[in-house]
Amino acid sequence: MIEMSGVRKKYNTGNVTFEALRGIDLKIGANEFIGIMGPSGSGKSTLMNILGCLDIPSDGNYLLEGINVRDLSSNDLAEVRNKKVGFVFQAFNLLPYATAFENVEVPLLFAGMKGKQRKKRVLDLLAQVGLTDKVNNRPTEMSGGEMQRTAIARALANKPNLILADEPTGNLDSKSGGDIISLFDQLWKDGHTIILITHDQNIGNHCQRLIKLKDGKIYNGNGVPAV
């Protein structure tokens, strides 16, 4: 499903070059539940952005479902993000002026799904995350857990194989956080591949495999199952 070899990422800030990733080799199979841990500045988010095709490597190769992302145009990358990847963020990142329904609808609109079918899909997704009664609520009228569940429904909109979650429980109390993790468990059982960044050792241990990052390098779990 995912194959990375020698992936490096350099950022140029003025005349200082900063290397966030220093050669990542990684293999992730279908239907894995991966946790990524590491201290701040270890390159977790950069790795996540590259995995999600928001960014492309400066060096090395990244193959997502056999496609080398370096060969893709910006429009192709947008399509990959739309169809193959689902993002879940720590800050939820819902559109503040749109209802739960409208937020979940966004990726479907980008995918060009027709009205009737789209409406049904959105309602199914919201039912799947248990928000049937919050369809017409705006983010300001929802709790943190509800917002994150809306975001997960949105991530699932176009049935992507890969779900990328960047500290999805970081802004939640432990109860809501627990609910979100059970939701991810369910998605994993349904056949999705889940990659989850976390600071929480408990959540890390909960994952099927844990990848630890430090200074832009993996220092255990080098493509091999660790747990």
């Binding site: 988010s45 952005n49 999600g52 928001l54 960014d55 910006s74 429009n75 947008a78 399509e79 993000r81 739309n82 169809k83 993002f87 963020f89 720590q90 800050a91 990142n93 559109l95 503040p96 002026y97 749109a98 409208e102 609808e105 966004v106 990726p107 609109l109 980008f110 995918a111 949105r154 176009n158 960047d166």
Partner: protein, 415 residues
């Protein structure tokens, strides 16, 4: 994009930066009013001009006799060419493209007398077609000279408004007798007031008209002062003028290229020139209005830049969810066009109300008679909409391009 979401974004932006948004929309509305009123003013002026021009007559050519300047078939220079009644009939026969041909006799000083009022004024001898081609329309209760008057050489007179005023004051003159150089004439009508922009000899309101046949019988004139013709079609005025020189040249033996033999005032050509001048004025007024709209457009671009800066995260999220750059571009473009659209619609409504209101003000003044009243035409509406579209597009495209170039990684970095 769901139009409801678009609407919600617009409303939210509006709330968030209410004052700035209100100022921007007002600026667009103001610019629209400026351009629309200026164009409407130009249109009113143009329409009034063409109305005023009809005071002299529409689509007519006035021809005076002249002197030959070229030798022709053994004949010398300096021969006078003048029109007679026979020439008039001859031209009617030879030039079927002419709807009307009519000569006019003029006498510069004739004594008008009614009761104890007496003065000297101009008198013309004319034909019935003058009613139409020279806009000698009678006021209610009167009539213009007709064919029977011509045939019977009746002593009837049609008065210009000023002469009527001087002779009769408030009295109704129709059917009354006046004396012209001591010869009694019956007044048959008074000319309706009109604005007359073009004239020869003087304004029509200062002249009395009698049948041409009566005129020549009474004063012995053999030659018309000039003739007036009106063709059926106006698209080949020059060709008709050339024909006139040929026909008259053959009749009086002068070189048809001798431009001095006849002198011509083509009212149609003058009207065309005037229209071009008016078009120039309208373009100028449009440019001035366009400038103020352009400034308003800068305001829109500004507010769009601010809005985009505040919404970089939203743009990043949309990109993460699979939005293509073109999609982001179009979204912001539509937003700015929406702002311009709302402002433009407001401005257009206000201008419409203003011009309609102005039309209803029942004042009559020389200024309005000359300048006309602002008039919004369909074309002006279209032009303004097109300009608004261009302003909206230009004001939107640069901010939208900036939005589309947002780096999703940067914008999603958690603060």
């Amino acid at each position: 994009m769901n139009p409801r979401i678009l609407y919600n974004i617009f409303v939210r932006d509006f709330r968030k930066q209410k004052k700035r948004m209100l100022l921007t929309v007002t600026a667009i509305a103001w610019g629209t009013i400026a351009i629309l009123l200026l164009l409407a003013f130009g249109e009113g002026l143009k329409q009034q001009m063409s109305k005023n021009r009809k005071g002299l007559g529409d689509g007519i050519v006035i021809v005076w006799g002249g002197r030959t300047t070229k030798l022709f078939e053994g004949l010398g220079q300096g021969r006078r060419i003048r029109f007679t009644e026979e020439d008039m009939k001859y031209l009617k026969r030879r030039m079927p493209e002419l709807k009307h041909v009519a000569g006019e006799y003029v006498s510069w000083g004739v004594n008008y007398k009614y009761g104890d009022k007496i003065f000297s004024e101009r008198l013309t001898g004319v034909y019935p077609c003058y009613e139409d081609i020279r806009s000698h329309y009678p006021e209610a209760g009167g009539r213009f000279i007709n064919n029977i008057d011509i045939d019977k050489k009746r002593r009837v007179i049609f008065l210009g408004g000023v002469i009527k005023e001087k002779l009769f004051g408030d009295e109704d003159p129709v059917g009354k007798q006046i004396k012209l150089n001591s010869v009694p004439f019956t007044v048959i009508g008074v000319m309706k007031d009109k604005i007359q922009m073009g004239m020869y000899n003087g304004p029509d309101e200062n002249v009395g008209s009698i049948p041409a046949t009566t005129f020549s019988a009474l004063y012995g004139n053999r030659f018309f002062n000039h003739i007036i013709y009106q063709p059926y079609e106006f698209d080949n005025m020059e060709g008709i003028e050339k024909r006139l020189f040929e026909v008259m040249g053959a009749r009086y033996k002068f070189d048809p290229t001798d431009e001095q033999a006849l002198s011509i005032w083509d009212v149609v050509a003058s009207a065309r020139e005037m229209n071009n001048i008016m078009l120039g004025i309208q373009i100028f007024l449009g440019l001035i209005g366009g400038m103020s709209l352009l400034i308003a457009g800068v305001g829109v671009a500004n507010i769009m830049y601010v809005s985009i800066k505040e919404r970089t995260r939203e743009i990043g999220v949309k990109m993460a969810l699979g939005a293509k750059k073109s999609y982001i571009l179009i979204q912001f473009l539509i937003e700015s066009i929406l702002i311009v659209g709302v402002g433009g619609a407001t401005g257009m409504s206000v201008s419409y109300i203003l011009t309609e209101g102005f039309k209803r003000i029942p004042i009559e003044s020389d200024a309005i008679n000359f300048m006309g009243r602002p008039t919004v035409s369909f074309e002006i509406g279209l032009i303004v909409i097109a300009i608004l579209g261009v302003v909206g597009f230009i004001a939107g495209i640069f901010p939208a391009m900036k939005a589309a170039s947002v780096n999703p990684v940067e914008s999603l970095r958690y603060e």
